[in-house]
């Protein structure tokens, strides 16, 4: 028994080693098939994640607003945002809006955090620089045209307080209080000097605002209050996002989280198309490649009809011939599967680096899948020609008919 097994092993190995050129042809075919299988498989599994990150260029897909007439403070914002997993959270930007005056004309001032603003609004076109600290400002293009402001210009914003009997004047000791001659109302003026560090172009309503830091805005308004709105950008699909938002709304009673429907709904429309595109392309290419592998294997085996006939003439059993050929095929299939999954991973990673500039997530499961698939295809492809060769009378095969 032992001897028989050794002989079997030797026959399989010798056949693989001696008939090198044929075996290389067969192995190459399997490797190509397995490479395409594991490469496209990896890409298919990773595309939704990678593409979802690309869709963040549309900016914020969640907004937080106060649930009542109050404002959101930084603690409740941090609490809410902590619901999102940190690897999915692209960034969040608070906004506080106030009315103020420039050259005696009313303008809207927006206080924000410039360090995160490009994460939630990556589409902002800024000529000049993003402000890097207090005293610097980003001016919307329309306003800049209206007031003739360019990068580097200085201007000052004016905030006129109306002072009523309830106003706590101790908070503004240094300001001169004056009375409007027409109405008799009392006012005091507070100004803030700003330097234009950039002009903002978006094609949207942002161009009508002047953006300053939250500190500067508190300084001008002489009051620190929370934010009106927080924009959040999260790399998550519509349904996943919904579960996070439900969690936030359950946890917090001071603020409510809402999806930006325009972004989330459209994203899932487009992304699902993209996914099914990659899926069906993968399926078509895989099916064709596997048939291609099978035909090559069949050609390689069919070539050995003469050998099969000779063995049969020497008295080999049909079953032993089938088993031997099949084992050869399986060894080739397994080897091709392993090499193919490594090459496929390398290829998928190269694609991912080129397209998305991030490496692909390795999925160990694809290795056994690639091996099993190549072994199955090779096995099936071997079986058909061997069976037909085995069924034929050895004399005919040897004669070459």
């Amino acid at each position: 028994m032992n001897k028989k097994q050794r002989m079997f092993l030797r026959m399989v190995l010798a056949s693989l080693l001696r008939r090198r050129s044929r075996m290389i042809v067969a192995l190459l075919a399997i490797v190509v098939g397995a490479t395409i299988l594991s490469g496209l498989g990896l890409i298919y599994y990773d595309v939704p994640r990678q593409m979802s990150a690309q869709f963040r260029s549309y900016g914020a897909n969640v907004i937080l607003t106060p649930s009542d007439d109050s404002y959101m403070n930084s603690i409740s914002i941090k609490n809410a945002v902590s619901v999102f997993p940190s690897d999915k959270l692209e960034g969040y930007t608070p906004y506080r809006y106030e009315n103020s005056k420039l050259n005696n004309l009313p303008v809207t001032l927006a206080g924000t955090d410039f360090s995160s603003v490009l994460k939630t609004s990556p589409y902002w076109h800024i000529s000049g620089d993003l402000p890097d600290g207090n005293g610097k400002t980003l001016v919307g293009k329309k306003l800049a045209e209206k007031f003739g402001l360019t990068v580097g210009d200085g201007f000052s914003m004016l905030n006129s307080f109306q002072i009523t009997d309830n106003t706590d004047t101790s908070a503004l000791p240094d300001y001169e209080i004056y009375t409007d001659p027409k109405t008799g109302e009392k006012f005091c003026d507070h100004t803030l000097d700003l330097k234009v560090s950039g002009i903002l172009e978006t094609g949207g309503s942002e161009e009508d605002y002047i953006y300053v830091t939250l500190d500067d805005l508190s300084d001008l308004m002489l009051s620190e209050r929370g934010c009106d709105i927080v924009e959040v950008s999260v790399a998550a699909r519509e349904d996943e996002l919904k579960s996070y938002l439900d969690e936030i709304n359950k946890r917090s009673d001071t603020l409510s989280a809402k999806p930006v429907k325009r972004v989330t709904a459209s994203e899932s429309t487009v992304l699902s198309k993209l996914e099914s595109l990659v899926l069906i392309v993968t399926a078509v290419v895989l099916a064709l490649t596997m048939i291609c592998v099978a035909t090559t294997m069949m050609a390689v085996i069919a070539e050995r009809r003469r050998e099969i006939g000779l063995r049969k003439a020497l008295g080999a059993l049909d079953s032993s011939i089938v088993i031997e050929f099949l084992s050869e095929g399986l060894v080739l299939g397994a080897a091709g599967g392993i090499i193919g999954s490594v090459l496929g991973y390398l290829f998928a990673d190269a694609v991912s680096m080129n397209v998305f500039s991030s490496s692909i997530t390795f999925r160990p499961l694809l290795i056994p899948v690639a091996i099993i698939a190549s072994v199955t295809v090779t096995g099936l492809a071997c079986l058909i020609p061997i069976r037909s060769a085995v069924d034929v009378d050895p004399a005919l095969v040897l004669k070459g008919e």
């Binding site: 050129s21 044929r22 042809v25 075919a29 190509v32 098939g33 490479t35 395409i36 496209l40 890409i43 595309v47 593409m51 690309q54 869709f55 260029s57 549309y58 900016g59 005696n104 004309l105 990556p122 589409y123 902002w124 076109h125 329309k142 209206k146 978006t202 094609g203 949207g204 809402k258 930006v260 429907k261 325009r262 989330t264 709904a265 459209s266 429309t269 487009v270 198309k273 993209l274 099914s276 595109l277 990659v278 069906i280 392309v281 078509v284 290419v285 064709l288 490649t289 048939i291 291609c292 592998v293 035909t295 090559t296 050609a299 070539e303 190269a350 694609v351 080129n354 397209v355 998305f356």
Partner: protein, 432 residues
């Protein structure tokens, strides 16, 4: 004699030839399907991205606003309008066919049962006709395609053609709740210029500020704001090419481009060139790219195209390796036959020519069959993913043919040469 040998080979070895043809056909069908899908995917995804709404807004020229501002200082900014006739100009520009949808917008504030509400007049699903210089331009357009994310929770989308008159409205969920109305109800809308009775056709959820508004037909809004024949802003959705260096350069100042660059820029569907053409057609308007939509579109398109190109490349490499592999092995298999030919006195050149003719003929037949299979696969992909046909490009067909013939030659020539280098006696003896 040559012809007889070739036909003889096909007749006698048809099984082997069929195997080669089949493999070539499979490879060619992968190449055909992938190349065509790749070349068309940009347009298809671009159409899908229209779900995000308009990527261009057209507003009255800011110069006009400025002069107005300084003339009437300290008062409220006076509203600026564009004339309704100018809407037709969108259909006359060079890239008019790339403009998929557009809608005018006229907003005014109104009062309903004591609540101040923003009222927006626009086109919903509007049949628009425009005559200019004897040509009639037609388009069905409106915000139905520019607000793909609206959920109609009650009633339905307004269908302007089916309704008689214009006194209809759609309201946001929030407004409907505030007013306590549902689809089919009537509301009385008052403004300083008049009063209108509107029937609510549908109620929508949009997840943004528009839920606080009432949407109605343009003509109602014009009467309520006293701006007959005018609109404030137009939303335009156009299929554009992603910005590249030329587009960035042009966006700064088109006058700085050289003549050739200018022509190339003008005749490419960049968002900046479409904006420029709209401004040319309507001098009193200023067309602006909505950066959020236009920039992201470019990015997504670029990524998708690159991804598809690389997947195509991978499939092409796979297909060509598969074909050349099989061709090589089938030539090697015939070593005895080739050696015999050489032994009876055939010249190397003659044998090579004979073998190549056989194989290339087989490949061409296979490739032709593969092209039609690939066409079918491409259409399956197009229909199942985008519900529209994939446009077959002549370039792809040519490329596949050239590729297949090249691969067949590359796969067979080295094998033939290798066999011919050996001495016939060795090959015939079976020693190698």
């Amino acid at each position: 004699m040559f012809f007889r040998m070739i036909t003889g080979a096909f007749r006698r070895q048809w099984k082997k030839m069929l195997m080669i043809a089949l493999t070539v056909a499979l490879g060619a069908s992968i190449a055909t399907a992938m190349l065509n899908v790749m070349l068309d995917v940009g347009d298809k995804i671009n159409e899908e991205l229209k779900a995000y709404g308009s990527n261009i807004t057209v507003v009255p020229n800011s110069q006009a606003v400025m002069s107005d501002l300084y003339a009437v200082e300290e008062t409220e900014t006076k509203d600026e309008f564009l004339k309704e006739e100018t809407l037709g100009e969108f259909l006359t520009i060079f890239w008019a066919n790339n403009i998929t949808d557009f809608a005018p917008v006229l907003d005014t504030s109104v009062n309903v049962n004591g609540n101040d509400i923003q009222l927006i007049g626009t086109w919903f699903d509007h049949h628009f006709e425009f005559k200019k210089k004897g040509t009639v331009y037609q388009r069905d357009t409106g915000i139905i395609n520019l607000r793909s994310w609206w959920d109609i929770t009650d009633g339905k989308w307004m269908d302007e053609a089916k309704l008689s008159g214009d006194q209809y409205a759609m309201t946001g969920r929030k407004t409907a709740d505030m007013l306590g109305v549902s689809a089919g109800d009537r509301i009385t809308v008052k403004s300083s210029k008049g009063t209108e009775e509107l029937e609510i056709v549908g109620i929508f959820e949009s997840g943004d500020d528009e839920e606080d508004c009432i949407f109605t037909t343009l003509s109602v809004a014009q009467r309520l704001s006293g701006a007959e024949g005018k609109y404030k802003k137009a939303e335009v959705s156009a299929i554009t090419s992603p910005d590249d260096e030329l587009a960035v350069k042009a966006a700064k100042n088109p006058d700085l481009l050289s003549g050739d660059e200018y022509d190339l820029w003008y005749c490419t569907a960049y968002v900046s060139s479409i904006c420029f053409q709209i401004q040319e057609a309507i001098p009193e308007a200023s067309a602006r790219a909505v950066r959020q939509i236009a920039d992201s579109e470019g990015k997504i398109l670029e990524k998708t195209e690159l991804l598809m190109a690389l997947i195509t490349l991978m499939s092409l490499i796979g297909a060509t390796l598969g074909i050349s592999n099989l061709v090589t092995s089938s030539v090697m298999e015939r070593s005895a036959e080739l050696a015999l030919m050489k032994a009876v006195g055939a010249k190397n050149g003659q044998i090579t020519f004979l073998v190549l003719t056989e194989i290339v003929l087989t490949s061409i037949l296979g490739a032709a069959a593969g092209y039609f299979m690939g066409y079918a696969f491409a259409q399956v992909i197009g229909q199942s993913v985008f519900s529209s046909a994939i446009e077959m490009s002549g370039m792809a067909a040519f490329l596949v043919m050239v590729l297949i013939i090249a691969v067949t030659l590359v796969g067979s020539i080295p094998a033939v040469r290798m066999i011919l280098r050996l001495r016939p006696s060795e090959v015939l003896h079976g020693g190698h």
